[in-house]
């Protein structure tokens, strides 16, 4: 069965017709040729497909497109309108917070979403004080980004990059 829907991706409006089984990830990659979010597992286990969906970091492989009619999606590409890199993206380049780059757009969307969560006081499992402001030290950053696997093992540099921007 197919349904029509609209998505706004990185500021661009799209109308499309998709199979009800199509995930947001496949709608982006296979229907709209927007390949910034990556497919690493299709099962919500790696984080490569992370996008900002209505402002929150979301695993697009676990989201059905038809359930998100009218959604606003930002991919890592959309964080750099006109090619101007987002400070986090620049920090990733400067700290070499990647190797192959396949996990990277997901890491960056996840980090942007995570910084916003922390700014709103959301605690993590390693937060001691559940009522005060969140202080993003290395352990907090590592914990909060552990849904994004990096098989190249760039974690140490990823934390460096995020720490620089979180400051």
């Amino acid at each position: 069965m197919k349904l029509d829907l609209t998505l706004t991706v990185d500021g661009h409006h799209h109308s499309l017709t998709v199979d009800t089984r199509t995930t947001v990830l496949d709608a982006l990659r296979e229907h709209l040729d927007i390949t910034s979010p990556k497919k690493g597992c299709d099962h919500g286990q790696c984080g490569a497909c992370t996008v900002l969906l209505d402002g929150r970091r979301t695993l697009s492989c676990l989201s059905l497109a038809v359930a998100h009619d009218g959604a606003e999606i930002t991919t890592a590409d959309g964080l750099a309108p006109d090619g101007e890199l987002h400070p986090l993206q620049q920090a990733f380049v400067d700290h070499d917070a990647y190797q192959c780059g396949y996990c990277t757009p997901g890491q960056i969307c996840s980090a942007v979403g995570m910084l916003d969560e922390a700014a709103h006081g959301a605690p993590s499992v390693v937060t001691d004080d559940l009522t005060g402001d969140v202080r993003l030290d290395r352990a907090e950053i590592a914990e909060r980004l552990s849904g994004n696997l990096c098989r190249c093992g760039a974690y140490a540099h990823i934390v460096d990059a995020v720490e620089q921007v979180a400051r």
Partner: protein, 698 residues
């Protein structure tokens, strides 16, 4: 073949350079294989065998064919014939015989990924199962002696090690085990193939476009010149994307059925556990004999590897012990148990990674037995020349790495007593492990340098079919080309990842930068001989990889030392690694920025192998049970503590004109041993089998 006659003067080499492709990677606009544009491409989804051995007796594709959007369903009954019966692994859809679980039995081509997948589920296959064996049993009657390792002999014996062991003041005999492991690069293997007028054009997630071209040309009976292979961005490989696997063959075969149309196939994460190689499990028997002062009199290292009946790859784990330490007598052997499972392959530091777990744990156990500090024991057994070849080392700075690491880590204050430091409910301990990795050079790359523009501002196009799988080839080769031409990096336009640029060796064996770099330096030298430093537009020179004239004169290896701190929870047995330090002596470092990433990546892999990774085979069906990232654990961000990396300045004039040694693999070697040694120091429990899980401490 000559070597470059000009001295190589590093300017760009040795200077931190961000990856040229960095902005594309952080935006996600760098295109990986399956993202190759092409809107009418068909999606492929396979049907796979559910048994380890047997025969297809009937296959019914009618329901699949009837599904909307399905263009073709291929089986062994209707698929195009390959030119020859390649290894059974490459001979996809050529017969009804099933050699392994997960083998491709059919392929659906459809206009959408959903339809392809649904149709594949509608193909009904009848199979007659045959008896099989899937799990490694070192006492198997099928155990055999392979003819040779990929590099070096199968067995090597010097003197009479058994007599020396019997006569030694101290003798240690231990057995270590390492599991089957899967590479799992984050980008799943993928291929996009299209036949156009008898030519085969393939985008492939590969570490070696030339090797993929060779394999395809052989399978389809084509001239290599009729096959193009392109790999611009590759999302990690670690060895699994070195050889060509059945998925690439299947995609090219299926595309033959729909000429002029592209077929794309990216493996699911689950399929990544079936057909694209793995590190085989090992059983390693190690014996060390020593006098009371800790001088080794004998080393024996006898390995039994998990293998496949379809094709041979021998994990050369005992080779690690051939060159590490001095001993008058020595024996290293490799045996293989062939099983009804897929073919194993190179995985990051093949041989050295599992071999160092056994070798470096055994050294720790011997140090404890003797009451000698484990670093001191290694220093006492430092060889003068390579114990295997008898050649002098081009440079060997293991001792310097151990000393520098000890200083930086704070080893001097270490109390050797095990189970002596309980802090807030956690037992703490520290451990050390040595690392070594050879410096090979792959022959057969070709580089072309062409001037664009004229005079002082001329640009240089440098073409070589290298692969960048994340190691940083674009930055490194740009820097090498700039220095070889004695110009700034901004004047270099490097082009890689395409067989249009001629043959090239792989991104593998820690030999990419050495092999491609030496070729570029040679081409630059010829270019300057021919045209000087003020070329005309279009001036061009090329070169093949030069032989290394020192290859038979010196033994060439990188070395390193790992120091780790481990904490084991006294009640739960949970094991953490709060602190790791790696010190390396690996020749000249081309790009300090990306090199650090390679070392960190290797160390993170070592941590992951030590604590997480194990593919569990089900003997009943011959498949990996924990076939996704929820079941097959790799290190996450929160698993990694403080990582510290240092490299020593090392000037090695013999390895290649740039003075570089490979650094892609040495970072993993010795890490698992250092962690196991630290875990013993923390708890008094010796774990001789990977991965080290909490049950060992309860």
């Amino acid at each position: 073949m000559t070597t470059a006659s000009r001295p190589f003067v590093p300017h760009a080499v040795g200077t931190a350079m961000p990856r040229p492709e960095g902005p594309q990677k952080v935006r996600g606009t760098a295109r990986y294989t399956v993202e190759t544009p092409g809107s009418d491409a068909l999606y492929l989804f396979p049907v796979q065998a559910g048994v380890a051995r047997g025969r297809v007796t009937a296959i019914d594709t009618s329901a699949a064919e009837a599904l909307e959007g399905v263009v073709a369903v291929l089986t062994h009954e209707n698929a195009p014939r390959l030119a020859r019966e390649a290894d059974a692994d490459h001979g996809v859809l050529q017969s009804s015989t099933i050699h392994q679980h997960g083998q491709y039995l059919a392929a659906v081509l459809a206009t959408s990924s959903e339809s392809a997948r649904e149709a594949a589920s509608l193909v009904s296959v009848e199979v007659v199962e045959e008896p099989h064996a899937a799990v490694l049993d070192e006492d198997s009657p099928d155990l055999y002696t392979p003819e040779a390792l990929v590099v070096g002999v199968t067995d090597d014996t010097r003197g009479d090690p058994e007599a020396a062991l019997a006569a030694s003041a101290v003798t240690l005999r231990r057995t270590y085990r390492t599991p089957m492991e899967h590479h799992q690069p984050l980008e799943p293997h993928a291929t996009v193939a299209c036949w156009e007028d008898g030519r085969l054009v393939v985008h492939d997630a590969t570490q070696a476009v030339s090797w993929t071209r060779q394999a395809l040309a052989a399978a389809f009976g084509l001239d290599e010149s009729d096959v193009d292979v392109v790999a611009q961005h590759v999302g990690g490989g670690f060895g699994s994307k070195g050889g060509t696997h059945p998925n690439t063959m299947l995609t090219a075969l299926a595309a033959q059925a729909v000429p002029g149309r592209s077929v794309r196939y990216a493996l699911t994460r689950q399929q990544m556990f079936d057909l694209v190689g793995y590190r085989p499990a090992t059983v390693q028997h190690v014996a060390l004999g020593a006098d009371r002062e800790g001088r080794l009199t004998a080393i024996t290292h006898d390995v039994v590897d998990q293998g496949s009946k379809i094709g041979e790859f021998v994990e050369p784990a005992a080779a690690f012990s051939r060159g590490m330490y001095a001993a008058e007598t020595r024996r290293t052997t490799h045996r293989v148990v062939p099983l009804d499972i897929g073919v194993p392959t190179f995985m990051r530091a093949p041989g050295e990674a599992p071999g160092s777990f056994a070798g470096e744990c055994a050294m720790d156990e011997l140090a404890i037995e003797l009451g000698i500090d484990p670093i001191e024991l290694r220093l006492r057994n430092e060889p003068e020349v390579d114990p295997e070849s008898g050649l002098p080392y081009s440079s060997r700075n293991l001792v310097a790495c151990l000393r520098r690491g000890a200083e930086r880590f704070g080893w001097a204050d270490r109390d050797p007593a095990p189970r002596a430091r309980l802090v807030d409910g956690w037992w703490h301990g520290t451990g050390v492990g040595s690392a070594s990795f050879p410096v090979p050079r792959f022959p057969g790359s070709e580089a072309t340098i062409r001037a664009t523009g004229t005079g002082d501002t001329a640009g240089y196009t440098v073409e070589i079919a290298a692969s960048d799988i994340g190691q940083g080839a674009r930055a490194a080769l740009t820097a090498i080309a700039a220095d070889a031409l004695d110009v700034g990096v901004e004047r270099i336009d490097l082009r890689i990842g395409d067989t249009a640029f001629g043959p090239a060796g792989p991104a593998g064996g820690s030999a990419g930068t050495t092999s491609w770099g030496a070729t570029i330096v040679e081409a630059a030298d010829r270019f300057r001989d021919k045209y000087g430093d003020h070329p005309e537009d279009g001036d061009e020179a090329d070169a093949h990889t030069p032989d290394n004239p020192w290859a038979g004169e010196y033994s060439m290896h990188a070395f390193g030392a790992h120091f780790v701190e481990v904490a084991v929870h006294a009640d739960t047995g949970e094991i953490r690694v709060p602190r790791m330090l790696g010190v390396f002596a690996a020749g000249r470092i081309v790009n300090p920025l990306t090199a650090r990433s390679q070392f960190l990546g290797g160390m993170t892999w070592g941590l992951s192998a030590a604590l997480h990774e194990e593919s569990v085979l089900d003997d009943r069906f011959g498949h990996v049970v924990n076939r996704d990232f929820a079941g097959y654990h790799v290190a996450t961000n929160a698993d990694v503590g403080t990582l510290d990396v240092e490299w020593l300045d090392e000037d090695d004039p013999y390895v290649n004109p740039m003075g570089t040694k490979g650094i892609g693999e040495i970072g993993i070697v010795g890490v698992a041993a250092a962690i196991a040694n630290a875990a013993y120091h923390a708890t008094g429990v010796r774990v001789r089998s990977l991965p080290i899980t909490l049950d060992a401490f309860l």
